[in-house]
């Protein structure tokens, strides 16, 4: 695991700032008073248990859901995102957990969906070249860009979805569980990609259940619990702290093992 200095000051200005974001679905409050900042050139990991509101928050930022209350500030200006295209226009690109690809269209059509070159006379050659360039940048292994998405594996679909999000040169890219369906090599590749994106000065919001992945690339780890902020951690926070913040319980399997290990050490020291 790459070692990262603690308390690293984010470079660049605040790109995105959320204050008091709430979202209700009927009687259910999926999000309550969420605050979140994303700086340019920073990877923010969003972690939390199932139902913590991570995906809802991503959908709010992607313009899929509108927040019930709260303000979103993007590059210093308060913004409302009434639709996914509004978010895209601002420069917030999203890779959704369910990928949101059209299975009946081929890879090129999916990457350029809604952003086709030359709308009145589609430039298929230029689009195919750009698609291959994006896929090669990701070191992707896609057999053919002219096959419908239905013929691709889960990992290949993930790669297509990520390639699509980069097409528009976004300011912020959000990845919802980007490595969940990927093999070892592809996971490493996606994490490399996240680093590359950060080096370009983009803000990255990454949702993951995999603490290894989170620690490998995140600059800050934001924990959500039951739709509320539950602490911000640095990547070298202990597993115990993180799991405690995520589950809200200080007594769990991780903490008990940690306790046993420390007790064992103490005994060993006593014995010496």
């Amino acid at each position: 695991m790459a070692h990262r200095p603690t308390g690293r000051t984010p470079r660049g200005e605040v790109l995105l700032s959320l204050r008091g974001i709430s979202k209700n679905f009927g009687a259910v409050s999926a999000l309550t008073g969420i605050d979140l900042d994303v700086h340019a050139g920073e990877v923010v990991a969003l972690v939390g248990d199932n139902g913590a509101g991570k995906s809802t928050l991503v959908k709010v930022l992607a313009g899929v859901h509108q927040p019930t209350s709260g303000t979103i500030t993007f590059q210093g200006r308060p913004v409302t995102m009434a639709s996914p295209s509004a978010a895209l226009d601002l420069g917030i690109a999203t890779v959704f957990q369910d990928l949101a690809l059209c299975e009946n269209l081929d890879v090129v059509a999916n990457i350029f969906l809604g952003q086709e070159l030359n709308p009145l006379r589609l430039d298929e050659v230029a689009m195919e070249v750009r698609a291959w360039t994006l896929l090669h940048e990701l070191a992707a292994r896609i057999p053919s860009v002219r096959e419908p998405i239905a013929s691709l594996s889960g990992g290949q679909r993930q790669t297509v979805a990520i390639a699509r999000s980069l097409l528009m040169d976004p300011r912020i890219i959000m990845l919802d569980e980007p490595t969940a369906a990927l093999g070892v090599a592809q996971t490493a590749e996606v994490l490399n990609l996240v680093e590359r994106v950060r080096e370009k000065g983009l803000g990255v919001i990454m949702i993951s259940h995999n603490m290894e992945d989170v620690r490998a690339v995140a600059d800050r780890i934001v924990v959500l619990r039951l739709g509320r902020n539950n602490g911000v951690f640095t990547p070298d926070a202990s597993n115990q702290e993180l799991v405690g913040a995520i589950t809200g319980a200080t007594d769990n399997a991780v903490s008990r093992r940690e306790g046993r290990i420390q007790a064992g050490r103490a005994q060993a020291e006593d014995a010496l």
């Binding site: 949101a100 086709e116 709308p119």
Partner: protein
Amino acid sequence: MTEPKIQLDRGDSRVTHATGLGGTIRAFFNRVKAGDLGSLPVVVGLAIIWSVFTALNPIFLSPNNLVNLLFDCSTVGIIALGIVCVLMLGEIDLSVGSMSGVGSAMVGVLWVGQGVPLPVAIGVALGLGALIGAAYATLRNRLGMPSFVSTLSGLLALLGLQLYMLGSTGSINLPYGSGFVNFGQLLMMPAWLSYALALVPGVVMVASGLRTNARRRAANLSAGSSGGLLLKAAITTAVLVAVVAYLNLGRGLPWMFGLFVGLVVVMDYALTRTQWGRSMKAVGGNAEAARRAGINVRRIYISAFMLCSMFAALGGVMSSARLASASQQAGTGDVNLNAIAAAVIGGTSLFGGRGSAWAALLGIIVIQSIANGLTLLNLSSSLRYMITGGVLAIAVIVDSLARQSRQSHGRA
């Protein structure tokens, strides 16, 4: 042939690529086996239908009967073209028959009854179609009303409007000898023009194919073989010239059919080569994905329903010219189902996301061949309805089976 580096799209050794003529033909058979049938079932079905009818009554294949067939195809075919648009989204418009009846009544009432100039009357009919289509789409977008229900109520409401417009007389005769009625019944292209038009597809195929191949090579992408391209163009041209020559043995190629094919070509271009067409397929395949990609899904629905109702109105206008009358019977009976059946038989999926403008052309030729052949055999319309219904059922079964096969072969 020297290759400086591996082509962009040939970097993966796991994929087999069709090379040369033999490869192209093998790829075709593999596609069919995987359930990507394209227009194959239609062509096979058409061959069977034509052989049977010719065996039963040789007049069926006479040039003049085929010319009549083309006239009949044009009116319902234009309606089917609109149906392709809504089916592409996985929606349906059940009111196209009534809408075409209103279109024909509009021409009768405004042009013959009120003395309004014909182009204005046609314009009003199309405008009303656009309005009705926008209403269906709005009901769907804003209220979530399934198009099945909204257009079913539209079917009855528009039929009422048609009856109201025609009033007590029940039918309005359009003047024989007017250019409009001639267009619907008599007007043929000059032979030289029909031959020239038969050459156009082949020429366009070769020109655009060679240009695309050159651009692909310049961009370091693999390009198709020029031999295969020339062969395809040659076959197409030969078939078209033979058809035109055969029709010219009779009355010739109707202008009205020319209009229909022209509309098919325009729609095919719009559906396959423009951003709008791409968005249509995307919405039909996965509306939520399309929305998240920034496509204005509501606008796509509006455009499809408007086009469908406008094509229906235009089809009605053309059928009034064909029949030289605007009557209460226009657009009733089997018009509705024939239009929908044509689109489905031609290969447009009822499940959305798949289809082409050519489906309307191929499908309507099948449907009208059956109607025409049965009429030649002096069979009553009762039997005709039953047989057409059976053919529609078979077409939907083929569609469903092909869809299952596509899913298991990963072809969506």
